[in-house]
Symmetry: D2
Subunit: 306 residues, 4 copies
Amino acid sequence: MDLQGKWFFELITPDLVLLYRVKNFLYSGKTDYQDVEILETGTFGKSLVLDGKTQSTSADEHIYHEALAHPALLLHPNPRSVFIGGGGEGATLREVLAHRSVERVTMVDLDGRVVELARAHLPEHSRGAFDDPRTRLVHQDARRYLAETTEVYDAIVLDLVDPLEGGAAYTLYTREFYEIAMSRLSRDGVLVTQSGPGSLLNHTECFTAIVNTLSGLFPATLPYAVYVPAFVTPWTFTIALKGPAAASSLSGPEEVDALIGERLQGRLRFYDGVTHRHMFSLPTYLREGIAAERRVVTDDAPVFMV
Amino acid sequence: MDLQGKWFFELITPDLVLLYRVKNFLYSGKTDYQDVEILETGTFGKSLVLDGKTQSTSADEHIYHEALAHPALLLHPNPRSVFIGGGGEGATLREVLAHRSVERVTMVDLDGRVVELARAHLPEHSRGAFDDPRTRLVHQDARRYLAETTEVYDAIVLDLVDPLEGGAAYTLYTREFYEIAMSRLSRDGVLVTQSGPGSLLNHTECFTAIVNTLSGLFPATLPYAVYVPAFVTPWTFTIALKGPAAASSLSGPEEVDALIGERLQGRLRFYDGVTHRHMFSLPTYLREGIAAERRVVTDDAPVFMV
Amino acid sequence: MDLQGKWFFELITPDLVLLYRVKNFLYSGKTDYQDVEILETGTFGKSLVLDGKTQSTSADEHIYHEALAHPALLLHPNPRSVFIGGGGEGATLREVLAHRSVERVTMVDLDGRVVELARAHLPEHSRGAFDDPRTRLVHQDARRYLAETTEVYDAIVLDLVDPLEGGAAYTLYTREFYEIAMSRLSRDGVLVTQSGPGSLLNHTECFTAIVNTLSGLFPATLPYAVYVPAFVTPWTFTIALKGPAAASSLSGPEEVDALIGERLQGRLRFYDGVTHRHMFSLPTYLREGIAAERRVVTDDAPVFMV
Amino acid sequence: MDLQGKWFFELITPDLVLLYRVKNFLYSGKTDYQDVEILETGTFGKSLVLDGKTQSTSADEHIYHEALAHPALLLHPNPRSVFIGGGGEGATLREVLAHRSVERVTMVDLDGRVVELARAHLPEHSRGAFDDPRTRLVHQDARRYLAETTEVYDAIVLDLVDPLEGGAAYTLYTREFYEIAMSRLSRDGVLVTQSGPGSLLNHTECFTAIVNTLSGLFPATLPYAVYVPAFVTPWTFTIALKGPAAASSLSGPEEVDALIGERLQGRLRFYDGVTHRHMFSLPTYLREGIAAERRVVTDDAPVFMV
């Protein structure tokens, strides 16, 4: 009688579906921008699902959020002002605030209702980060905010939902947007964005196109990937550096470990020097895919995930 | 009408199921030892499934088989005689035979019917390897064969089905078996075995126990992992070296690339120097899991996968 | 993207599963006796599921409950005192109370928590029936209650969960229980019980055995069946008459319609004279299955549904 | 491990899906007109599936085919010449040929490949009927055939696939088609068509519209319904009589049984007098649905099933 009961179906591709057995559906609803499910599964604990796609789960969110936030911030000599685009659950915010140098974080997430729901149902994702005096939370379109602000940031961390057709986020993955973002970075500024799945079978959906788009704008680009269990695929991130020098600054595992010790409060669960080398040593197909990519993502020619 | 039609359900855990949409069921049957399905999916092409578990698919079998065979053989100074345990589809055989130094390969797979079916339905997996004059194919229990043979091997490559409760393979993952295997290795001999899944959520199922068991016997053990799309999880392998010196011999990506060029015929699709570094730089949780592991797998206390 | 989202799996047989797309899970929990889900689907509206089996849904509960209650009560010349065994949602109670002659209904359902949940989440199933002054609600084992009571009933209506292995209800389908029940019926008393599924493929699971058991005790037995959409199969009921005369009293559709008009308050949605003829004219396989049945269900040799 | 393995998903509605566990996929392919699957399940034995919809299965095809063929033929005083529209598997043909009076059957099924496949894989459905000297098999559009033929038939039996949007069959459910068919019937001629599902939740999809369309043309119309396990819903049929007298001729179960004995060779498995009464005594909602229906199906305003 294994099969009986409550399940959540997530489409990986139209031909591949993941079925999670659900213990509890904690919240089901719609915000002004998206469908929201907060559910609890035996495998992943609590899970936030937006528009049918798992965003983060209790069991493994630290992999995603540490991998997103730390390499970029460590590549900056002294990040004091940070911008987060998206980041609803507050876990990216939590990781950014762990950097002792950080004095001010502006988090701009369009969907205030998702932030509210995450605070109510997933407090362990933010662990007080929203109450940190360094945090400023704004509910607005991140592109518009960056276009209009006069502030300048040492780091821009883009923790956005995937560029789905019909979704709102695809304009945050284009050359035009990256030009705006670049203009808001300080001299040694660093930008990092999640850049979609990175397995042999799906890395050209958007990863290689995003890397190629950023490479055309920034002096240096550093793509990397890590397996996130709840996504059942490696996930990619791409760092873009405004100042070229920093690119070589994290040369060995020992140096990464030393920097983590120096600059971060508390202990990390996932990211360390050897893990850094693991993530930045891309398997062949990712390197070949990047080398072969010619697409530049623009407002008129966006990329969409399946 | 997306959902309509033929699907294959594969249990990842009792709470997590993968649904593949199937284009064609090419073969369904039972051998003396296991259930066999050969099916074709949109995502993975042709797929061999034994006892309900995907073994290899056209789309990504090169990742698994290159990762299994090449690091171990390159760690041996001059592998001439190789033993393959299992390896039904012939793809491991194909990769082993690509090494110019290899003069003789003994492949011992219990289930002759699976080999036959793979040759008929998946000829692109073996690509003529069964007809290579260096190949000797035996259908017998690999443990018994090794216990009784007087041959000595430079490399033992274990491409076995998972240790499932009630299955036949679990006795090929125990200390007693590894003692037999070690005794059949030549002085600089190297053994490699697949060692189960390696994500945050499943790496202690059998991976860490196998590593710990081999570490207790061999002078040096080298665990590594790589994501295999059809398994939807990173997969692990463990190398055990009879002679300690070799362990340090593949220090940098350039050296691996040079060795590949020297010792292998034809071009690899997946494995190269940077990929080697990616695979052997284990993420935190795998290193921590190995460090914390105390189990030794024995005939009386075997490990089973879920 | 049809497939994405929340689904409920209900096992019809180990080889046949029904997937309902769920709009909302309204309640999920365990009582002292069973798992309870109250969910809302596009097809059936709100649905009560006990131990993984759909019990009744907004869309079609009137079919089941009218079919269960009315034929038996109309076969009695003047039912004043009625016993309901089970009947958690209160819909059987509602239908029984629609008979003008009924002066007193004792409903004995073991699981008070299910009654509470149904009143809270499915008030349209009981429509005030629990507040009717003629209703007496007891939470106790129905068999024990009947064994110990000194009351006598004109009708006993058994609206029980299926006899599942390991469940509590199977002792309410045995010869020993029916002997107790018969002893509590007045002279012209009538008993009716739900008696399980009635399709060609499942009618011998328990239906024919229940009919045979009742036939061995009561002067007359009247099995009938009706399709209930949420069960995706015809469902059976069996009436047993303590006084033989009544058996012939509902001979034609017109007579049934006349009696309904006379004896019932309000309008029925499903049951009428032609429907009565439909339900009591059993298709061949049910008549043949009954004729061939030799099993008598006893406490020592119970029947279980799959 | 219940869930593991091969399944077939059939959409009942977009919110309700049936999963069959499949033992063997015997045939998968496309003809010029439709997708064909022939598969074997534990519950239903061998099953023919066209365009994703189960057409008939070994376990229960006799219910559908006896219910389709016999009432109409018995309502004709002496059916000698019969036209079958569709009927690919040959089971309707088999039942029609069981009538001793039948001298000539013209079966017109568009898709010769389906007939071939059914003869090869499902020979027990036709049981030699295609080799009966009275049979004439034509592969052509049934509407065009009827429009062009000069033959006249005592009975027209329409065993067609459902009227699906984009499918070919929907023009065989329109007033224009029924006018053609009526013109090809002899004086006491009878037409019967399958008319779609007949549960509370789906009977207005096409059943009531087809009945209303035939009622507008023929002197008498007799709708009926029977549960077919593999369809998990009652299925409807509609008889239309060119001569009004016959309509009253099957008044009681005994008369039906007598006629069956007189006019049919061999023993029926499902249809008999009481079953006839069961099928023609429609439950309330079908009678009410017919009474309320105003749609007339025409070539310009067809009905489609979901």
